[in-house]
Symmetry: C2
Subunit: 347 residues, 2 copies
Amino acid sequence: MTYNAQTIFEFELPSSRMLCYFDADCKKITELHPGRKLIFVTDSNLFRLYGKYFDGKHVIVVKAGEEHKTQVSADVIIHHLIQYEADQDSLLIGFGGGVITDLVGYAASIYKRGIPFAFIPTSLMAMADAAIGGKNGINHGAVKNAVGTIRQPESILYDFDVLQTLPAEEWVNGIAEVIKYACITDPVLFEMLEKFDMHQVQTDFSLAAMLIERCLKIKMNIVIQDEKDKGLRKKLNFGHTLGHAIEILHDLPHGHAVSIGMVAACSLSEKFTDLHFSEALRIVQLLSRYHLPVDIETDHAKIFEVLKQDKKRKGEEMHFILLKKIGVAEIYPLSMDYIESHLKEII
Amino acid sequence: MTYNAQTIFEFELPSSRMLCYFDADCKKITELHPGRKLIFVTDSNLFRLYGKYFDGKHVIVVKAGEEHKTQVSADVIIHHLIQYEADQDSLLIGFGGGVITDLVGYAASIYKRGIPFAFIPTSLMAMADAAIGGKNGINHGAVKNAVGTIRQPESILYDFDVLQTLPAEEWVNGIAEVIKYACITDPVLFEMLEKFDMHQVQTDFSLAAMLIERCLKIKMNIVIQDEKDKGLRKKLNFGHTLGHAIEILHDLPHGHAVSIGMVAACSLSEKFTDLHFSEALRIVQLLSRYHLPVDIETDHAKIFEVLKQDKKRKGEEMHFILLKKIGVAEIYPLSMDYIESHLKEII
């Protein structure tokens, strides 16, 4: 499949309609929204790289980095939205990676009780996962995504040319989510990933686009069925429960932490959902093939302290996503007591 | 009608079901929610008055007053929710007036992407208006409710005994919203209000409860039809557009500002929607009868500056709610230019 013309995917959600301008040109964003006030939000790194793109546009620049995914940055955006006199007819556009899409979706959802927003994701992580599905949020102290809402972007514009500026480590970071989608729902995608490698994905944008399209459609299919995260959608948390705790404690990139979290979830799956050892091994090998870490030396007591704050905790239980086999995930409740006493065997 | 037994009203909204425990006993709140973690939020004034009520309960106390309806107070609540390990099975209960209900609804809507919340309104303003309908929010600098969401409480518990501690000026403040409901939809309520006076409402809780029940049902009927404020619901803004601007500039109580705003809207209504002068006069007289101000010396240029920031502004137009007659309101667009040049005749 070649990606060289603009394709529009349309998704009907319970709450709204979402458009994807796939393989589009981000320079054409103004033409796509005639007569509307467009206000861009990007981070300081991207503003340096793409300064010219923002010439003559309303733009709000926030500090780059996960450590700035906070209420302080949201307040900066809101302050500027007031200055720009943004209203329901305006469109707030997040141009950036997962931190920017999370932050912009959140700010747009609370400013004036909600204005429309859209994304131009610039990283593999944002294109394959973070920009999709309407979950947004900020961190509060050590608690990741402690604050946020679920509200859908009006549109997502995919311009694969922006991947040219993506640093190598961000490709590795993003591929972890692609592998996650393969593990939980798509054995064919898993096999494809086994055939390629990091270098090929990183240099052949039509391959990257094909992987991203597959993730986009898997995720939207799930979100359409369970936008508010009551059941099915929880499967997207595969690797994320322990992953989040590791990410916070060790200050790891999200994809690295999720990779270690997926290996831990495989170890639980062998015990509770009869995942065959050979399949768990294929997963560990695939993660390694894409330069992702598969274990870590950690402080189990501290990990448990962070886990206790997880949104996924329900009272004395926590729901883990385990695999029955590659491509088939299920939600599995484990008691906090079990987790506390067995954490050393899991990670 | 006597109010001496608990009545439950049930409302089916597009997004959720909302229960009202009407004429209930706030001491029984724990029995209403067996097995759930209840976390109360109140303000420093009410905590002084009702300290005993909170004995043995989880309670978060925020500073009293509209000037503390800010992100700082929301952050205090979120900080404590994390400490209490609140989750989707918890219930955050706002015990207070309109500032508390706005703040608690907002904090509950963004904490962990939304946890359930309920209200025990303690003022006439909160009982008749602020606690109802799911609009929540905080102020950002001079911009009132610049930030917030629309999300429904799970329940509202009305305990009219708490009105015993309501200061006289808060009765006056709250009655402005009751008069608003009469003006926009309910000529019978308007006539009832003409027969009573502030002293009677303030001393006869069964009369107050009857007025509150009427407002509750009017508002829920509108919110059920237009939860997301796309059309019909805008009628609830009668008196609030200019009212908000006056409230900010003159630091007036909300009800006082809305009263002046309603008189201004009557003046526009005489011009644009043929409200008869005799009806406008009845409205002015009713407001005066309930000790509400009906005019103010103001700085029109500054009022216009604040108006420009209003959520109700749509580009170069602003939607005002005007009356055709008592009980019949309509949405009327006015250009920002017209408003700027005629503001002196309006207020």
